[in-house]
Symmetry: C2
Subunit: 213 residues, 2 copies
């Protein structure tokens, strides 16, 4: 089973790594990080770089396509080699999945038309403009297309995928392996419960990050 | 504020990246990944490589030391340059933190003697052999030394650190930023609730991973 994860400039590292860590426990799996060129690809802040081990041309098909998001998605919504490659992967994949604003790339590739899907809460309108119907569910299965909400939701999605790809016992064992017994110190992780003050503070922090990166 | 994250062969990527993603939202922060040599460092499965931007010699102090874990820790428990560097960082750090079996490295460096600490549940005895008193708490604060339980617990720890480094509103905004409203599909993330069957399946998966990597 081949899992292919595209990387692009200014991706969000936890989008990719949360799901990767879970899926890497699968028996008989292989994971490849793919980009326009081999070599390091920098995340949104530029401090973290992950190595692409193959180019888009070198990966002709995969069983599970896993598309992370990040601010870098915004400049990839018009036709470009990544969208072409996503469509090629999806043509024969068993599963096509995204985390966070990775779903914007699936939408821009034309893969979400008429489907329910999710994304980072702050990008819901943009997702809808790309043909999908945004839902506030944390993980959305639509046939073989699976989308997860913002960043950390990739962990929940990957555990659900492991259960479908293997069995519930294995998925529970992976959950124990990553000791995923979450105890957030606050209850502000959802746009449905966060106050307007918290949203405003988030927008300040995001703007600072954008200026600094 | 400088956050320094050491990397080493066969580290666990989510240990580093869960906490990194949270801390990278801090205003006025800079993060550096550090290793024996600059360049890519491979994780436990070898599919993911993160780039070290500086060598141990090049980072002489930091404000927050964040030590990830992984199977690679096992060969680093005897005297070696990483333990030396950890002790040097800790001498002047404001916070010294670890995720998962990163606490074994803190213990091997002599920093946990007589302290309560946590680690990945499967390494509790090894942690105690290094002088710490293992607790099942997910995040353990002991003065400036903070340890998190296995892998995903780094996210909870980092949110708690952001609250102490800034304020609760900022920490809540970061939680919203990573949409951390966890909804694990199962309840098997803690060794306190997982059955012996789930533990046995985990040990099988971990052994497969070890053989394959």
């Amino acid at each position: 089973m081949l899992v292919a994860v595209p990387l692009f400039d200014r991706f969000t590292s936890l989008d990719a790594v949360g799901a990767y860590e879970v899926l890497s426990f699968l028996p008989d799996v292989e994971v490849v990080f793919v980009a326009a060129e081999r070599g390091p690809v920098r995340d949104v802040r530029g401090w973290l770089a992950m190595t692409a081990g193959a180019t888009f041309d070198e990966v002709e098909s995969c069983d599970l396509l896993l598309v992370p998001g990040g601010p870098g998605t915004r400049v990839l919504l018009e036709e470009n080699p990544l969208l072409d490659w996503i469509r090629r992967m999806d043509a024969t994949s068993e599963w096509t999945a995204s985390v966070c604003t990775g779903s914007l790339l699936l939408g821009a590739a034309g893969l979400l038309t008429g489907l329910k899907a999710t994304t980072h809460w702050a990008s819901a309108e943009l997702l809808e403009s790309l043909g999908a119907s945004y839902t506030t569910d944390r993980v959305v299965f639509q046939g073989k297309v699976v989308t997860a909400a913002g960043v950390s939701a990739g962990i929940d999605m990957a555990l659900a995928l492991v259960a479908r790809l293997t069995d519930e016992l294995t998925a529970r064992a992976v959950q124990l392996g990553i000791e995923y017994d979450p105890q957030p110190p606050f209850d502000s992780g959802s746009p449905l419960t966060a106050t307007s003050e918290i949203r405003a503070r988030f927008r300040e922090l995001a703007a600072q990050r954008a200026r600094a990166s």
